[in-house]
């Protein structure tokens, strides 16, 4: 039986392409990558990164200063784009402060603050006095910050399942709404650059010294990125379609994008139960997540017009995901990874790629698999290497993480009943 669709009544992303949806949309349409040669503070690795410009200069409001860290600055920047703050404040009036849930994903939270504090240990080995672990690095910091920013006190938690984190929050939000524990939910996630992930992935020999080439013939690993994204989920029954989705985006040719309501139609979650940092070689868990998403949406594989791949560009991820995609969808459904634009935003990858899919759907194109010139001949999925216009009515977005954590989400246009 299909789940009851939830409307994404507002959504926004901020990443290496810039702050807000318009920056990501124009880069996606113009095939302009946000990756740059690594210039992150204190990091001498030979790689490319997806860094958000000028985060260092962001100042949190006085009342929220205890949350100050790179991760929450990125959250703060993102919350102010695309009228997201206004949308939540108006939802708060409609539903009440305790009826809007906050479920956000992150993998490393504000660990950059702890790294900086460890680099400044005093002579007796103590951390600096002004270091606030609980409000910056503790995993809940992000949701705590967002609850304080909007003055909300409803259900909230931070999901931290590595790179599937900000996809799985959609499933939690659906369940809480069904159980009557909230009327709306802020979902999404934030992950920011830190030495832990840069040198950590490097220790596993998974960092590429080139711009990443998902599904590429000679792919050599990931580029780490940072990003933030949020979506406001509401029951379509509570919405006035006329007020949805402010027309702040324009197509290349200047016409406003279509105003269709976009909805979460399905989700699937699974565990590889195979290895902590390597996917099941046959993509077993990935296929289970995609099939579960189709089942929960009551759709067939042929109903899906576009697959946004996890596509990290490690040899093992892409090979396993390829097998899973082909097992469920065959070799025709257009598919691409958008990691070539942003790098791998880890705990923010799920929400980033859901919003990219929404932007593509609204503007009638399929993002190409940027940076990849020649597809690995051992893979069989239909990887989109050339730009093409296309109508997407439904897409699936894959997010897979360490610990074998898999999540697939299906987003579609609201069905319009023809009388």
């Amino acid at each position: 039986m299909a789940i009851k669709p939830l409307t994404l009544s507002c959504y926004t992303v901020t990443n290496a392409l810039g702050a807000g949806n318009a920056a990501s949309l124009s880069a996606l349409q113009q095939e302009r990558s946000g990756l740059r040669k690594n210039d992150f503070t204190d990091c001498d690795l030979d790689t490319y990164i997806g860094r958000v410009a000028a985060l260092e200069d962001i100042a949190l409001p006085e009342s929220l200063l205890e949350f100050d860290c790179r991760n929450n600055r990125l959250a703060y920047l993102a919350l102010q784009q695309d009228n997201f703050t206004e949308a939540v404040l108006s939802a708060r009036v409609k539903y009440g402060a305790s009826r809007i849930a906050v479920f956000l994903g992150t993998s490393t939270s504000g660990i950059r603050e702890t790294e900086i504090a460890y680099a400044k240990l005093d002579a007796s080995g103590q951390l600096p006095e002004n270091f606030n672990y609980t409000k910056t690095h503790n995993n809940f910091s992000l949701a705590d910050f967002v609850q304080h920013y909007f003055e909300l006190n409803g259900v909230a938690h931070v999901v931290s399942t590595a790179c599937s984190s900000s996809a799985k929050v959609f499933a939690s939000a659906y369940r809480y709404m069904q159980a009557g524990f909230c009327d709306a939910a802020i979902v999404g996630g934030v992950d920011s650059l830190c030495l832990s992930t840069l040198y950590g992935f490097n220790s596993l020999q998974l960092i590429s010294e080139h711009k990443c080439t998902p599904w590429g013939k000679n792919r050599s690993g990931i580029n780490i990125g940072e990003g933030a994204g949020f979506a406001l989920l509401e029951s379509p029954n509570n919405l006035n379609p006329e007020t949805l989705n402010p027309d702040n985006l324009k197509l290349d040719n200047g016409t406003p994008e279509n105003k269709d309501e976009l909805q979460l139609l399905g989700y699937g979650e699974s565990s590889d139960a195979y290895h902590m940092s390597t996917p099941h070689p046959e993509g077993r868990g990935a296929a289970q997540a995609m099939q579960a998403a189709l089942d929960s949406a009551d759709l067939n594989a042929t109903d899906i017009d576009y697959i946004n791949l996890h596509g990290t560009a490690t040899p093992s991820n892409d090979s396993a995901e390829d097998k899973a995609v082909v097992a469920i969808f065959g070799t025709h459904t257009p598919a691409s990874s958008t990691k070539g634009w942003t790098g791998h935003a880890l705990g923010a990858a799920g929400i980033t790629e859901v919003v990219f899919g929404c932007l593509a759907m609204k503007n009638n194109f399929i993002p190409i698999n940027l940076n990849t010139i020649e597809q690995d001949a051992t893979t069989k999925a239909n990887i989109v290497l050339q730009k093409d216009s296309a109508t997407i009515n439904k897409f699936i977005s894959n997010s897979f993480g360490f610990g074998g954590s898999n999540c697939s989400l299906i987003i579609g246009r609201k069905e319009v009943l023809l009388c």
Partner: protein, 269 residues
């Protein structure tokens, strides 16, 4: 707004609280709580090669989880899981940040893959061959309430049994000074959305946003110190109510995020 779920098994470990059975007298108030050092855990569900790669925090979480599943660990694969930890693995954070402060930044690959918050969930899935949903979350000091609600709503909506595990462990220095947890503590519960033959109690939960709510405490002062000293130990009043097999419905109030409260009514069968 309330959910009703059914508990079929429960386990806990803390300093001086070795197991659910051994803790009965303390939980029931028949014996004073005496703190003792925790042993090193060695979960039998983990293959030896994986056991060597895991940390004390992962072993604590997996130990309490397998205690909850019981003698026949093969049934573990039928459960979805919710792993709830406020702080994650401080020992790993300390090792990683120390390595990152050194020249050449010698981060160990094993430490890095153990650093993810869902490391215990991942090791459990591998050991239990559990391929269903595994969630891993934090709500800081209110993580126990958040994890329990997540697990209860999951089992109700997805109609699948769920194993909820809440666990936290003190940090080594220098982190301990900026985030002090008093002792290690872990609790696990098997929950289902409908009453089964093995259901022990019904838990009915709802949230309360009144500002002056009084949270349940443990009468034994030493036990209450443990409750306040570890986010997972916020479960203790609920564990005491579960241990007390009374005919009447009892209620406990557990702290939830932003000063709200999780009300739980406990009905024994």
């Amino acid at each position: 707004m309330s959910v009703k779920v059914y508990l079929s098994a429960v386990s806990l470990v803390g300093p001086g609280l070795d197991s659910w059975q051994q803790s009965q007298a303390v939980l029931l108030g028949a014996q004073s709580y005496v703190r003792k050092d925790l042993p090193n855990f060695s979960p039998v569900i983990l293959p030896a090669n994986e056991r060597r790669r895991t940390t004390p925090l992962i072993k604590l979480a997996l130990h309490v989880a397998e205690q909850c599943i019981g003698a026949d660990l093969s049934i573990a694969q039928q459960y979805a899981t919710v792993f709830a930890s406020s702080d994650g693995d401080h020992g790993i954070t300390d090792k990683m940040c120390k390595a990152l402060a050194l020249p050449n930044r010698p981060v160990s690959p094993t430490n890095f893959h153990n650093s993810v918050h869902n490391a215990p969930a991942g090791y459990w899935a591998i050991a239990a061959e559990a391929q269903y949903n595994a969630n891993s979350l934090s709500a800081c000091n209110e993580t126990f309430a958040a994890g329990l609600i997540e697990a209860a709503i999951f089992t109700l909506i997805e109609q699948q049994p769920v194993l909820m595990v809440a666990y936290d462990m003190p940090a080594p220095p220098p982190l301990d000074k900026v985030r002090h947890l008093d002792a290690a503590f872990a609790v696990a519960m098997c929950l289902s959305g409908s009453r089964e033959a093995n259901s022990l109690v019904e838990l009915e939960m709802d949230l309360n946003y009144e500002l002056d709510t009084q949270y349940s405490v443990c009468e034994d002062k030493a036990l209450d110190r443990l409750r306040l000293g570890n986010p997972a130990a916020r479960a203790l009043p609920l564990l005491q109510a579960i241990a007390k097999k009374t005919a009447t419905v009892t209620g406990v109030v557990i702290p939830h995020v932003q000063s709200s409260a999780l009300n739980i009514k406990i009905k024994h069968f």
